[in-house]
């Protein structure tokens, strides 16, 4: 008996080692076994939260590149929206085939790209913004500028690497708009000092405009595609002299913290401008 105890005392550490190694091998076998997640599930429930918080901490440093990626993805999606296209009925085809959708031609009218605002003013009478893309990146005059929230402005000047944007917060920036559901066309003009509010003009007095109605672009200008959000009606006043309403629109775009903007190019702008020029000449 004494011998046995002596033996255990001597070999105790070997027994411990053997037990530990056997436990390791059992764990290894369990984790290798097909479809047996019982052990790893238990471990994961303990380790998982720690790893999750660690991963989210590391993720914070990668937000910049990820945002770029998302912006690109957004553009891909925005390019496929219906207001990017014009649909033309092909008369040649109409006569031959049945009158269904097969004889309409879908043509891309607008294309998107993006840029980042590197400088902006909001507190002046003539505000402007500068974005980090220019003619080298395919930016040209009169491209529309959108913020993630809605319409932001128009490109007015282009250098090789930078462009100037005239935001809505500029008295000379006039954007033709439609207010829904009244479906009345007007013009959005900024003349105040508040960078959050603009006026919607030329809406006849008889139209029923309610506070909270949405204002969209109507696509008359060749710059903005149809149906882009500008803002919501904030205040409606009946003017004392004219036959028009005075409508205050709270702008969707937050000019005070704008960084990523989308630029819209009208692919037929040159063609349309030529027509307009002819009209002027006559």
């Amino acid at each position: 008996m004494n011998n046995l105890i002596e033996f255990f005392k001597k070999a105790f550490h070997i027994i411990v080692l053997a037990v530990l190694l056997i436990v390791s091998i059992v764990m290894l076998g369990k984790s290798l076994a097909f479809n047996d997640y019982s052990l790893s599930r238990v471990v994961q429930s303990i380790v998982g939260p720690i790893q999750k918080s660690g991963a989210s901490m590391i993720h914070r440093f990668r937000l910049g590149p990820e945002n770029e990626q998302l912006v690109k993805q957004n553009i891909e999606l925005m390019r496929e929206r219906d207001n990017m296209f014009i649909e033309k009925t092909d008369t040649m085809l109409t006569e031959m085939s049945k009158p269904d959708s097969t004889n309409t031609k879908r043509m891309r009218m607008y294309d998107y790209t993006y840029a980042h605002v590197i400088f902006r003013t909001t507190d002046r009478t003539f505000n402007y913004m500068i974005v980090d893309k220019g003619s080298n990146d395919g930016i040209s005059r009169d491209m529309a500028v959108l913020s993630p929230e809605g319409v932001a402005g128009v490109i007015t000047d282009v250098s090789p690497n930078f462009s100037t944007v005239r935001p809505i917060l500029h008295p000379e920036c006039r954007i033709s708009a439609v207010v829904t559901p009244a479906n009345q066309n007007g013009t959005v003009i900024w003349e105040g000092t508040d960078p959050h509010v603009a006026n919607l003009e030329a809406i006849p007095q008889h139209s029923e405009i309610n506070i909270g109605d949405s204002v969209f672009t109507n696509g008359f200008s060749n710059i903005f595609p149809k149906g882009l959000f500008i803002g919501t009606v904030k205040e409606v006043q009946v003017g004392n002299n004219a036959s028009f309403l005075t409508i205050r629109v709270s702008l969707a775009t937050k000019y005070t913290d704008i960084y990523t903007v989308y630029l819209v190019e009208n692919l037929y702008k040159a063609e349309l401008d030529t027509l307009k020029a002819h009209f002027k000449d006559e």
């Binding site: 411990v16 080692l17 190694l21 436990v23 290894l28 076998g29 984790s31 994961q44």
Partner: protein
Amino acid sequence: MNNIIFNILRFLFLLVAQVAICQHISLFGYMTPALFLLALFLLPLELPLSLQYIIGFATGFVVDAFAHTLGVSSFACSLTMFIRPHIARMLNGSNNVKFENIDRPIPGVKDFRWVFLYTLILSSIYQITAILLETMTFRNFGHTLLVIFGNTFFTVFVILCIEYIFHPRVKTES
């Protein structure tokens, strides 16, 4: 007492560093340092053997849990801890069963050759066991060997760097 707290803090620090940083390094696609081995190597040799094994197993288990390789590191760590006293004894050149306090396996107490061989042998034992258990195959053995060598080299390099940077000022009695 102070020594124990210091050991525990070093242990925790190295484990966190391993799990949070080293495990995500893969130099040239396969070289990952096993920094936590340093914590095991620096354990006092005069601890009871069974306690050493249990510490090794627990360390390996934590590393495994974060690397989703249950059993691999715990096995390799237990084995390394089992072999550790024998290596230390061999390098001391004596069959002295008892380890004195002076026998701490750190630079300053031991010379470079001792520390280097100690780290190299134990690291390679750990890496060979861990990587063979992880791959579980002798197919593509050339690459497995490459991974073993790379990992061992990287581990030894990192551990020696850290050991000599945080060189403790110890009065040597010789």
